[in-house]
Point group: C2
Chain length 339, copies 2
């Protein structure tokens, strides 16, 4: 009998999994949001879609699908999170932020899937696999970061002037945890952004939230700003929010709406010395204080204060990204959103 | 003793997996390719990166990382493919082509991972998570497909004039296998493309091949064209090529270089009635014939001839996508690239 049980157990297990494997019930992707935009009165062009192909007419007039966003999901077999976990990236970036780090280690996507979260990583409107609208619909030009910009601005190097085209002459912040040897790969993750699309981005995030939530949100930088703005409009949909260096919070007048949503805000190292990040930190702390004043929970962690040091703005890619993921996971457990 | 063995087996298996689960040794992503481009002599602008944020200078002059490509990989525990499987998408699309179908079924990515292939899905240069270069580096305008264009051009509807803004009045090809009820979601996968970037795309694919191969290539439409062009330059790196409706092949003068690479070409339904696709089909068949004339293997499958009917240009998303995946897998087994 035992032999039989043993044998049938082996049969059931199509593939024996070991502790280091990622076992998924499913994985996939979808788009949400979007609208049909109309373009009129433009000239018809003749183009060749590929070398050797026939000449074809390109009539730019007509309807276009624009302002959708992309979401990829991973559903672990050992589901522990009580709700789906949404991961929203920062400005000029995509969901790749949470995938492998620039130096090829596991990112927070893998870590939180391993923790047992059904994880939804998105590319906001205009970024990455969301696509972008044509210049007749979005009339402003996108902006592009220079190769050196994040090095000086994201607390990798020691501020303005720390960049040098010779890697040996760059001035890294002392004790930096960023994988600076893979800065090239980090810059390959960078994508253009528009400054006119905030409304469309929020509209698509709202549609995602209405589709997937109640949920837990993990948002970074500009994604934190959008996260708070969306949560203010759907406070009942969020069971917890983790904002990692939100680049400004939501509207402080609306902060009391989040009194029922536990919020954790995290900032890395060298923030107070940097005008840009200390500015955002003050705004974010005031927003947290306003949530607390309304009777809510707004926790705050300066990572260096708890012994996690050297973190750049790209915390989830830094060499100690695992320690920060564990800190977040412990906080989520403490808030009762993990089985 | 048996009880002990049974218990320790259960302990070993951190997560019991069942036949329908996807068990991965690992998953992640990376970028390859790219170069530093220099922009000079442009005006400095003042911008506000987010509402409430400080005014900052945007100096467009400087160095930019451009022309990289994005690759996401999934490594199944039950590895059966002898080589990595690369999936390259078509024009105006990204790797999303191979993920969930527009109507939410499993796509070829999941299917081939389940078959046991280490699968690498990429976004070519300029598409999706690869990002795109600024207009000082790529000076031409990208092109955007209208909402109706693929419906009439990708053999979903019955050619020119089959589109109607009222879904009830659209003329679908008889017996179409495309999930036309989810056409909206399909169009959300569409991304802009440039007509000047072929060289950069091929350069990045070459770098990917040099990094990952020897490998098996599964390529669609414009990706098939790039696939043959790259294989002509690295014939020893490819153990098999499956080209799904390649939008023109490589350079026929180079076809003999592929005499050592088994090639399968697949075309769907209603191809001969459509001027655009019948044109490509003729070029692709001639290329296959040239491989065979050199002593190589170039198989050809018209899906309707083997009882797989109604396929649009987006075969991997059609309702019978599983039957086509099985046909491809059987061919790969027959070519000795599966354990």
């Amino acid at each position: 009998m035992r032999r039989l049980l043993f044998a049938s157990l082996l049969t059931l297990l199509a593939v024996p999994a070991s502790a280091n494997d990622i076992v998924l019930r499913g994985m996939g992707s979808f788009h949400v949001g979007g609208r049909i935009a109309e373009v009129k009165g433009k000239e018809v062009r003749t183009i060749q879609r590929q070398p050797g192909g026939p000449l074809t007419k390109l009539d730019p007039n007509g309807q276009y699908m624009v302002e959708q966003m992309y979401v990829q999901f991973f559903q672990p077999k050992n589901k522990k999170g009580k709700y789906p976990l949404l991961m929203w990236h920062g400005g000029g970036l995509t969901g790749v932020t949470y995938e492998s780090t620039p130096d090829g280690r596991e990112g927070w996507l893998n870590m939180f899937v391993r923790f047992g979260w059904d994880t939804y990583v998105s590319d906001a409107v205009e970024r990455g696999r969301a696509g972008f609208a044509n210049p007749d619909v979005w009339t402003d030009q996108p902006i592009f970061l220079t190769y050196q910009d994040p090095y000086e601005r994201f607390r990798i190097g020691d501020g303005a002037g720390s960049w040098n085209s010779d890697p040996a002459k760059r001035r890294l912040l002392p004790g930096s945890a960023f994988p600076a040897e893979a800065y090239d790969n980090y810059m390959k993750q960078s994508v253009p952004r528009w400054l006119s699309t905030d409304k469309a981005i929020v509209a698509a995030y709202l549609e995602l939230v209405d589709k997937i939530c109640p949920c837990v949100l993990l948002a970074h930088s500009q994604g934190g700003t959008f996260g708070f703005q969306v949560a203010e409009q759907r406070p009942d949909k969020f069971k917890a929010i983790v904002a990692v260096e939100a680049a400004s919070p939501g509207n402080i007048a609306n902060a009391p709406k989040l009194k029922g949503v536990p919020v954790l805000q995290i900032f890395g190292d060298y923030v107070d010395q940097h005008p840009r990040w200390s500015h955002f930190k003050k705004l974010d702390m005031a927003y947290g204080d306003a949530i607390k004043a309304a009777g809510g929970t707004a926790d705050w962690v300066n990572l260096p204060d708890v012994g996690i040091k050297g973190n750049s703005h790209m915390l989830m890619q830094d060499k100690n990204n695992g320690a920060i993921a564990e800190l977040i996971q412990k906080w989520l457990v403490s808030k009762g959103v993990v089985d």
